[in-house]
């Protein structure tokens, strides 16, 4: 009984801690970055997403987090290569023979944060770019298979430039443009967007397949028509997320009040 009282007291106190204030909004959009992305580039991409989506959705607040993946092998090859063209050859091999193994221990913290957020009454949408889609798909499986179940209706994924063959077990939602190098990955979801100039509507045909893969440089660039489509797609997914139910489990109490505490 004392323990319960203490727990409830803590729950009541925490909302007033300044450090928690802006992380308690109803929506949490998380970027899961792609291959060969430095932390700085990932933060830049995350903030590009944030300025385009805004701080609220359907009159509810949104916060933006980063679930960071480091590409050890790809960066190692980069550092060891003395020949830029040879590095491209190796990268091409990597892309063509994509046998990607998700490093599960790296995912643990991500999964734990998604779970915490949902248990705290938040809805989580992960926007995954490139190899981040493998991570997020596996994270979703881990989340769904945990013994203490949570509401998976409060967790969503939107894929961008995905090399995977599904989005959280479903064929959509995602956006991959027709020039993107990622479409060369065997069994990846096909391109579903013809990239056009935002100003003229003219189909883009020669920006290069790596450039076409860039999250900030192409997908969210104001020069191309993919930006409003991605914003629209993400907002649709946010609208479909359900508030986590108020749950009181036997044994331990899991409280959801529809807001963070």
């Amino acid at each position: 009984m004392k323990l319960l009282f203490l727990s409830l007291s803590l729950l009541l106190v925490v909302p007033f801690a300044p450090a928690q204030q802006n992380n308690c909004e109803p929506f949490r959009v998380v970027l899961n970055n792609g291959e060969l992305t430095t932390p700085k580039q990932a933060f830049t991409a995350l903030n590009e997403l944030a300025v385009n989506l805004g701080n609220s959705h359907a009159d509810e607040g949104v916060t933006y987090d980063l679930a960071y993946n480091y590409s050890a092998d790809a960066f190692q090859e980069l550092l060891q290569s003395s020949d830029q063209r040879q590095w491209y050859v190796n990268l091409a091999r990597r892309v063509y023979n994509w046998k990607y193994q998700v490093n599960t221990p790296e995912l643990n913290e991500h999964v734990e944060k998604y779970r915490e957020a949902i248990l705290h009454g938040q809805k989580v949408l992960v926007v995954s770019h490139s190899q981040g889609n493998f991570h997020t798909n596996l994270a979703r499986q881990m989340l769904a298979n945990q013994k203490s179940a949570i509401s998976m209706d409060s967790f969503g994924i939107f894929g961008v430039a995905t090399p995977a063959n599904q989005v959280g077990g479903k064929p959509t939602p995602y956006l991959t443009n027709h020039l993107d190098i990622i479409t060369s990955v065997p069994s990846s979801l096909p391109a579903n967007w013809t990239l056009r100039r935002a100003d003229s509507g003219k189909i883009v045909d020669h920006i290069g397949s790596i450039r076409a893969h860039s999250f900030s440089g192409t997908y969210l660039s104001p020069y191309y028509d993919s930006r409003p489509e991605i914003v629209k797609g993400i907002k649709q997914q946010l609208s479909q997320l359900k508030d986590p139910p108020k749950v009181v489990n036997s044994g331990s109490m899991t409280v959801n009040s529809g807001s963070c505490f």
Binding site: L36, F43, T44, Y96, K113, I181
Partner: protein, 181 residues
């Protein structure tokens, strides 16, 4: 068929790098001005998007004559390119300090702390340059160039990637206000 596809892919990669409007941050190896034949281990200067050259001597820390926590070459870059308003200049300086701190981190804890500072600094830049369309080039240029100049030698790039590896798998929540120093 496989070989043909591979060749096509390679050409696509290389041609992307050769394009005038190629975004060098898309591929860290596609450094403007860097020689494709540069030997491994040799310092690689970043022939930057600006006219000035970055310091390539003095190890990781570089030279900071005015002791403001920012390398003199980065100070010069900020002065030349990112001082169009006082608040942009402050944001650029905040980014420079965070990037340098991150590059020099030697433990996971230090790298995580520095990455948190990098998250604050980046958010600060985007808070100031917040128009999705009008400010796009400005904030992208600031973010990319500050990083490129910070890691403008092989030694610095190597150390920077080591710090990045230390924080692989980390989760960063949105920084709390105030994000600007």
């Amino acid at each position: 068929m496989l070989i043909r596809l591979l060749i096509i892919l390679v050409i696509l990669f290389v041609s992307a790098c050769d394009e005038d409007d190629f975004d060098e941050s898309d591929s860290p190896f596609c450094i403007p001005g860097a020689s494709a034949d540069a030997p491994a281990g040799a310092p690689e200067e970043v022939s930057s998007l600006t006219e000035i050259q970055g310091q390539t001597a003095a190890g990781l820390t570089g030279i900071d004559d005015n002791a403001n926590g920012i390398r003199d070459d980065i100070d010069q870059l900020i002065e030349q390119k990112f001082s169009y308003t006082p608040e942009i200049k402050r944001a650029a300086e905040q980014e420079a300090r965070a990037l340098q701190q991150f590059m020099e981190a030697t433990t996971k804890e230090a790298a995580l702390n520095a990455a948190e500072q990098m998250a604050r600094a980046t958010r600060c830049t985007f808070k100031i340059l917040s128009d999705p369309i009008r400010d796009y080039e400005k904030r992208q240029a600031l973010s990319k160039e500050m990083e490129a100049w910070t890691v403008n030698t092989k030694e610095r790039l190597t150390k920077y990637l080591e710090s990045s590896q230390l924080i692989g798998g980390a989760y960063f929540m949105q920084p709390v206000e105030p994000v600007c120093d």
